[in-house]
């Protein structure tokens, strides 16, 4: 996916100005940056919910979006929240529900299939949101700080769930965060933006994500922190 000369203004103030970036196919690109630098705006431009100047070229048609909040319909059960986004693709009801059952088993939430979102913990609700994105068979996956506000153990579990699901289909993924550790843990490429939305650092991480040695990545971690400062 290529983003070329992207400019987004809220009123007079530009949030992104002539922003260009290339996202590798079937890789996880992590965009790091402070709050207000335009990370979420970039994702919203990609899905087309924000007007912009410039060009976004992408081959991917099926976009999955995991928000910071789980963004589930409160009146639909866990199963029905996922089923809703499959209605267009799977006309057959049985096929649709088989898909829902499979993905819920994958994320360990099959027992909660008939539960309403209000009865779930934050981590469980976010797992439903991830499950929905993968059930949809997105070929482009956008993640907007999906692990924000979760405690360390829950975050680790959720990252494992995410990576297990990701490994099955490997969709092109743009992952927005301001957490350096999350980025180093998950990304194939890290792009650091400064407060004005300019790219100040870019690095590719070659190792398989699960075998990443924290010591080996110490210099990259240091460089990322440096670029943020």
């Amino acid at each position: 996916m290529i983003v070329k000369d992207l400019t987004v203004r809220y009123g007079e103030k530009p949030v992104l100005l002539d922003f260009s970036i290339e996202i590798e196919e079937r890789k996880i690109t992590c965009i790091l940056g402070p709050s207000g630098c335009g990370k979420t705006t970039l994702l919203n431009c990609i899905v087309g919910t924000v007007p912009y100047e410039g060009r976004i070229e992408r081959k991917e048609n099926r976009i999955g979006y995991v928000y910071q909040d789980p963004t589930l319909f409160p009146h639909l059960t866990v199963g029905k929240n996922i089923e809703l986004v499959l209605k267009k693709r799977y006309r057959d009801k049985k096929e649709r529900w088989d898909k829902v059952d499979r993905i819920l088993k994958d994320v360990g939430l099959f027992a909660e299939k008939n539960a309403y979102p209000d009865t779930l913990s934050g981590g469980m609700a976010q797992r439903v949101s991830l499950a929905r994105a993968f059930a949809y068979e997105s070929d482009l996956l956008l993640l907007d700080e999906p692990f924000k506000g979760l405690d360390i153990s829950l975050k680790k579990r959720l990252i494992d769930v995410f990576y297990d699901l990701y490994s099955k289909t490997e969709p092109t993924t743009v992952f927005v965060t301001h957490d350096v550790e999350e980025a180093i843990q998950l990304a194939d490429t890290i792009i650091v933006l400064d407060g004005t939305g300019k790219i100040v650092y870019r690095v590719s991480l070659d190792d398989a994500i699960h075998s990443r040695d924290p010591i080996k990545y110490a210099p990259i971690r240091a460089a990322v922190y440096d670029s943020i400062r």
């Binding site: 919203n44 899905v47 309403y116 929905r132």
Partner: protein, 260 residues
């Protein structure tokens, strides 16, 4: 078996939902009784016991049920005729800003118009029975429209963006995001608006002397200067208002099962 904690919560709930309202009613009736005793003019202010006795006698009166159900029927009809247009107009208003400006102005005028004046003006153009429904609509519609407009404007933007991103059809977005997600609020506002509609319908019935209606009975009581009869019918109107609110609350409990 209920645990100790559950028992405590049940008792606390019962105190909050039953005991406190009963206490408030007892205070009102107590003050009324004291005032009636001090005034000592039963023709002007009868004792609560006399009124309650008269209240129960109402059930045996000829035309009692006809009066109650005709007033309730007109209230429900006026409410239904307000609810659907109010929702449709609010939906149109959040989609088209120009419509929002037009509707907001009309609604502001309707809201500001004095109820009695509306009743008298409407009475000049139509039959009394039709007029009571129309007046109910004119009062309920602006309230429902304003409430629905703000509820629809408050629909979670991320939820809408999510649904569009996942290519959920427009009709499903309309149903799930713009209807189901505001359903709890719709019931809440309906609860207070339907009792207000009943009040307005009864007021219109009083002013235009609609026979076989709660308002008509109140007017007859007023004309014959039977204060205990008047207060008995007033109590009946309050009971009917509570009954409508309880029905709406029950409907909310039935339809909005996802709320904790």
């Amino acid at each position: 078996m209920k645990s100790k904690k559950e028992k405590r919560e049940w008792i606390a709930g019962a105190v909050k939902n039953v005991l406190y309202p009963l206490l408030a009613l007892a205070v009102i009736i107590g003050m009324w009784a004291i005032l009636a005793a001090v005034k000592n003019k039963p023709l002007l202010l009868p004792m609560p016991s006399d009124v309650f006795e008269r209240f129960f006698l109402l059930f045996g009166e000829q035309n009692f049920w006809t009066s109650v159900f005709s007033s309730l029927g007109r209230t429900c009809l006026a409410f239904a005729l307000s609810f659907i247009p109010a929702y449709s107009l609010a939906l149109a208003a959040i989609k088209v800003q120009a419509l929002s400006k037009i509707f907001d102005t009309v609604v502001a005028v309707l809201r500001a118009a004095p109820t009695v004046a509306v009743i008298l003006i409407a009475y000049a153009f139509m039959q009394a029975r039709t007029m009571t429904v129309v007046v109910g609509v004119l009062i309920a519609l602006p309230i429902l429209y304003s409430a629905f407009s703000s509820a629809l404007r408050g629909v979670d933007k991320n939820l809408l963006s999510m649904a569009r991103t996942y290519q959920v059809s427009r009709s499903r977005i309309l149903f799930h995001a713009y209807f189901c997600s505001i359903l709890p609020f719709m019931f809440d506002i309906s609860r207070s608006t339907i009792s207000l509609t009943l009040k307005v319908v009864i007021a219109a019935e009083i002013l235009t002397l609609v026979s076989k209606s709660v308002g008509g009975a109140i007017q007859v009581a007023n004309a014959t200067f039977e204060m205990s009869y008047l207060l008995a019918w007033t109590t009946m109107a309050i009971v009917l208002s509570f009954a409508l609110e309880i029905i709406v609350a029950g409907m909310k409990k039935f339809f909005v099962r996802w709320e904790k």
